[in-house]
């Protein structure tokens, strides 16, 4: 399972990075979303999969899965929701004001 997950993670990262490097603002935002998914799965996979029950002590199981990546991912999901919304608003405000979503045209100019 870990092997296939690792390969899937590789694909997800490849696509995420590819999207982030493109010119269109919308694609960049979707790319960050995809990257986030990749990171979540990476965190889970790194601590081995299916090694026990859910980390609820009420279950009284023999073994539990690692709770630490779950705590990290939970934080990350909520943060990435905030960041993605921020990106979205930034993107559409920029598009509204500047009339383009091409990153090459959105290059900053020198201050002077």
């Amino acid at each position: 399972m870990e092997l296939y997950m690792s390969l899937a993670i590789g694909v997800i990262f490849t696509v995420g990075v590819y999207l982030v490097l493109s010119k269109s603002l919308l694609r960049i935002i979707l790319g960050t979303s995809i990257l986030t998914h990749g990171v979540h799965l990476l965190l889970l996979t790194m601590s081995r999969l299916k090694t026990g029950e859910a980390p609820l002590l009420g279950e009284k199981a023999e073994a539990y899965v690692d709770p630490l990546p779950q705590a990290l991912i939970l934080t990350s999901i909520v943060i990435s929701f905030g960041v993605t919304s921020f990106f979205f608003v930034l993107a559409y405000k920029a598009y509204q004001k500047l009339g383009t979503d091409d990153m090459e045209q959105l290059r900053g100019k020198d201050d002077e």
């Binding site: 995809i34 998914h37 889970l44 709770p67 905030g82 090459e104």
Partner: protein, 958 residues
């Protein structure tokens, strides 16, 4: 808290408070309020004279960074007392003068006094600090306040230029001085000046001794405008005249002299110290006085004169250090006369130069110009000003009976004395000292006369003046009159200050020459008989008068210098090249293209990660313990991979969003499979809310471009992307196959119930073990949501906004009404479902500590209910049903979380320590309550506030 600390910090407090006070009493000039501070401090320091005179000293210290040996240690001895009196005394007079100089309606006087008080406090800090690092801090603060004051009229380009120049040069010197201080710490293990003096044996024999000396001297030379660092001082004259009088003549530029005097006990006796200070001082003196003769602007003349006088005092301090070459007896006392002259002239210079700067200010004020080619004959228009100028210039030129005459005589004595020294290698050079001193004095005489006579005598040229010349108002004359009277009083009764100020200051500069209880005997007399010095003075007057008469005919001394290579040009050119160079480098990689920046990041990521993996030999994969894969899981993986791969190929934005959503739901399924119920719940709701959000923004988003980017562009992107993907796969494999150390997770699993009383380990980690992280996380989220709010409300282009406004209202449509549905089924079902969702949200929140759920999930669930409400009934109904401002809710939630954390202070526990216990409650029976729940409540409220704020803000926008 000792008085000394209060004395240093009073000006800072004044700087903070005076603008507020000004608002309360708006009728009075801020200056009157500010004036009380230097007056009080002056009185305080005057009160210290007797005890300091008797050889005692005051010190106080409060620890600051004890681990680095840094404490705010203050120390008042003769030397610091002298400077403190100068700073506060002249400060008081300058503030008084400025009240009449700066119009309270036309000028930004509030910021002026804030800067001035800032400077006053910093300068007091410099002269009172015993700790070198604290001294350095105050030293740089004087540079900064000087920068602000020079640029006070910041609309003028020259002001900004002068401010920047002075800042760059003095801060450069300050930094080199800091390096010297650090070397002292390396040598002696302490930053305290007095402790360094205590361990002189170690310090003087250390190999870093000479480098430290040179670095400290660079600091002193830049601050005191010694050649070749003097170039900033003439440009600093763009500051308002009271500032020039205060900072750039009386106090700040003397900080360098103070530093040299302060370090004299450490360095004197060093040959290099003696030569460097004496000859840099003499060179500065003669160069400054020569250039002063050529100036046509009165303030520029005074600036060069100040440079020259600073050089004079500097050289005297150098000559005085010769005393340390002899041990005890009359020989060494013989050379301390130079130190005495230095201190005496320091006071005198502050007095007469203060008067002269104020005179120039009055002339500028009264006629509208400072150019001596336009001035002349002002004597009859400004009789009082003329009298003050007469006293000031005669004193500066060294004419009796004024104070300048006395110190000039003493200067000649010191210069002549140095010839007697017989232990130097370059003996013959010492003969030059009196010669240079004499020539420079002639120049000084000439420019003093130029200043006086070309301004006040000769024909009046009314047609060249913008204003009709008139005498200054009385208030403006008070300060210069006091200065002028001091020049006369000190001239006639020099011993008034000899016992009280000069003797203790000398004791601080030459501590090793006194046994305990002894003191220097300073007695200054007018008449010494027909000595060499008096003949030298007569010579100065004779030749000086001749030169002055020939002044306008001798190009050598009257024409401005026009050369291609000047220090100023070198400074300008150097600055320009430095700018261009760094700009060239920066522009090379800061292209403004996000893609380039991301490429740097990703390439660095690939290289650093793969290199680290190679180095640590973690490229070993152990497939043995991997979990088995079922058919069901295989299908999910395939769907996930396919949906992700399809995204870059789709041309429709709707499709792209749906594919991303699919990937998100597949990840949710994985969370279910991998026993992460909390994650699955959160991801599910977030994905749903995100899709809502995407739909809200959908109409505003640009269409995906149909154009296909060039192949090279796509290939290079793909190469980098594939590189990152490969590295990530390798990391995932190697990390899941190996464990190089014990994970902390076992601790969490074991202790979650014992320590935190919660059975849901993930939730316990979030709210208890790592509660601080969560605290900051919700703060970040709150910032993001307010950022979105601000961005939506932001009106970048007010005119464009006006144009679009009517269009908007005519359409009258907001995002929610657009998708508002009249569907009866939706509305009817919603009414019921919303309550079910809300109840479920509350359940999730309360159950969170032991079962799946918690603040985050519960809050997201509640938000989902509100979103449904909004979609079904429109934003108006939503507002009526839930009249809560979600921005305030966010703040309330943050406060609850923060207060929970602070609550642990009351039981003397660290921030965010939690506690729990079992309680018998009426209906619920035996219930476990934990303070972590309270914290989770904060998280719950904050996240609801944030989510709703984001969604409503976006939904309400056009």
């Amino acid at each position: 808290m000792s008085f000394l600390l209060i004395a240093v910090f009073l000006p800072f407090i004044g700087a903070a408070v005076s603008p507020l006070l000004q608002k309360l009493i708006s009728r009075t000039h801020t200056g009157w309020i500010v004036l009380t501070i230097p007056v009080l401090l002056f009185a305080f320091f005057m009160g210290q004279i007797t005890s300091i005179q008797n050889g005692s000293s005051i010190s106080t210290a409060i620890p600051w960074i004890p681990s680095l040996g840094i404490s705010i240690a203050l120390y008042l001895d003769g030397l610091s007392l002298l400077f403190s009196l100068l700073i506060t005394g002249i400060g008081a007079l300058v503030v008084l003068y400025s009240i009449f100089y700066l119009d309270k309606k036309k000028e930004a006087i509030n910021s002026f006094y804030v800067y001035l008080l800032l400077f006053m406090g910093a300068m007091l800090g410099v002269v009172l600090s015993d700790n070198l690092i604290v001294l350095y801090g105050f030293w740089e603060l004087t540079s900064i306040s000087s920068f602000l004051l020079i640029a006070f009229w910041h609309q003028r380009e020259k002001s900004r230029y002068g401010a920047l120049k002075s800042m760059l040069i003095t801060v450069f010197g300050g930094l080199s001085m800091l390096a010297g201080f650090v070397m002292f710490y390396v040598m002696s293990g302490t930053f305290s000046i007095r402790e360094i003096l205590g361990s002189l044996d170690i310090v003087t024999n250390h190999s870093l001794f000479t480098p430290a000396m040179i670095l400290v001297l660079i600091g002193a030379f830049t601050k005191s405008a010694q050649f070749p660092f003097h170039i900033w001082l003439p440009d600093a004259m763009e500051a308002p005249t009271p500032v020039s009088a205060y900072l750039h003549s009386a106090t700040m530029v003397k900080a360098g002299l103070y530093l040299v005097a302060r370090f004299s006990p450490v360095f004197s006796g060093e040959t290099a110290w003696f030569w460097l200070i004496s000859f840099v001082g003499l060179l500065t003196m003669i160069y400054g006085s020569y250039r002063a003769m050529k100036q046509t602007d009165l303030k520029a003349l005074l600036a060069f004169s100040t440079i020259s006088q600073l050089g004079l005092i500097m050289s005297l301090l150098g000559l005085g250090s010769a005393a340390a070459f002899y041990t005890g007896g009359t020989d060494s006392l013989f050379y301390t006369k130079a130190t005495m002259a230095a201190i005496f002239h320091l006071i005198n210079h502050a007095v007469f130069k203060g008067a002269l700067f104020m005179v120039v200010g009055i002339v500028d004020h009264g006629t509208g110009t400072r150019d001596i080619r336009k001035l002349g004959g002002l004597m009859s228009f400004m009789p009082i000003t003329f009298s003050i100028a007469l006293i000031g210039t005669f004193s500066m030129a060294g004419l009796p009976p004024f104070n300048g005459f006395l110190s000039k005589e003493m200067f000649f004595t010191a210069a002549l004395n140095i010839k007697e020294m017989d232990i130097m290698d370059l003996q013959f050079l010492l003969v030059l000292v009196p010669v240079i001193a004499w020539i420079a004095s002639i120049f000084t005489f000439v420019y003093s006369m130029v200043l006086l006579f070309k301004t006040f005598r000769g024909p009046i040229q009314l047609e060249k003046l913008t204003d009709k010349p008139h005498e200054a108002p009385m208030g403006m004359l008070i300060s210069p009159v006091i200065f002028a009277s001091l020049a006369i009083v000190i001239g006639f009764f020099p011993n008034l200050i000899a016992y009280s100020l000069i003797e203790p200051a000398m004791a601080a500069i030459h501590p090793s020459m006194l046994l305990s209880g002894e003191r220097f005997l300073v007695s200054i007399h007018f008449w010494h008989g027909w000595t060499t010095e008096i003949y030298m003075t007569i010579g100065v007057i004779l030749i000086g008068t001749i030169l002055f008469k020939l002044h306008h005919r001798l190009k050598l001394i009257s024409e401005p210098i026009v050369r291609k290579v000047t220090l100023n040009n070198m400074y300008d050119g150097g600055l320009y090249l430095l700018n261009r160079f760094s700009k060239g480098i920066t522009n090379g990689y800061m292209t403004g293209s996000i893609r380039h920046y991301l490429i740097y990041i990703f390439v660095f990521l690939i290289i650093s990660l793969s290199y680290t993996m190679m180095q640590s030999q973690s490229m070993q994969f152990d497939f043995t313990n991997f979990a088995p894969t079922s058919m069901y899981e295989a299908i999910i993986i395939v769907v996930l991979v396919l949906s992700v791969i399809a995204i870059p190929f789709t041309k429709s934005r709707m499709m792209a969003i749906i594919l991303t959503g699919t990937a998100g739901y597949m990840v949710t399924l994985f969370f279910v499979i991998f026993h992460a119920p909390d994650l699955a719940l959160t991801q599910m709701i977030v994905e749903t809310v995100s899709v809502t959000l995407f739909l809200l923004c959908f109409y505003h988003l640009p269409k995906l471009s149909k154009k296909i980017a060039p192949l090279r562009f796509r290939l290079s992107n793909f190469a980098i992307a594939a590189g990152v993907g490969t590295v990530m796969t390798l990391i995932a494999l190697s990390a899941s196959g190996n464990r190089s150390f014990e994970s902390i997770s076992d601790f969490f699993l074991k202790e979650s119930y014992h320590l935190a009383g919660g059975k849901n380990v993930v939730n316990v980690i979030l709210v208890d073990f790592r509660g601080f992280d969560t605290m900051l996380e919700i703060v970040v989220l709150a910032i993001a949501s307010f950022g979105i709010y601000a961005m939506i409300k932001l009106k970048l282009d007010p005119e464009g906004e006006k144009m679009t406004l009517p269009k908007m209202s005519s359409r009258g449509k907001y995002a929610f009404p657009v998708i508002k549905s009249n569907d009866v089924i939706l509305q009817t079902i919603s009414k019921v479902v919303i309550f079910i969702i809300l109840t479920f949200s509350l359940y999730l929140f309360f159950a969170g500590h032991n079962n799946p759920g918690g603040g985050f999930i519960g809050a997201l669930m509640a938000s989902a209910a509100f979103v449904l409400l909004t979609m079904a009934f429109g934003i108006k109904t939503m507002r009526e049903v839930i009249p809560i401002d979600f921005k305030i809710l966010t703040a309330v939630g943050l406060t609850v979380a923060l207060l929970t954390g602070i609550g642990s202070f009351f039981v003397k526990a660290p921030f965010l320590s939690h506690s729990f216990g079992h309680f018998m409650l009426p209906i619920l029976g035996d219930t476990e309550l934990a303070t972590a729940m309270l914290f989770d409540l904060g998280v719950y409220l904050t996240v609801i506030g944030i989510t709703m704020n984001i969604i409503l803000t976006i939904g309400r926008d056009e």
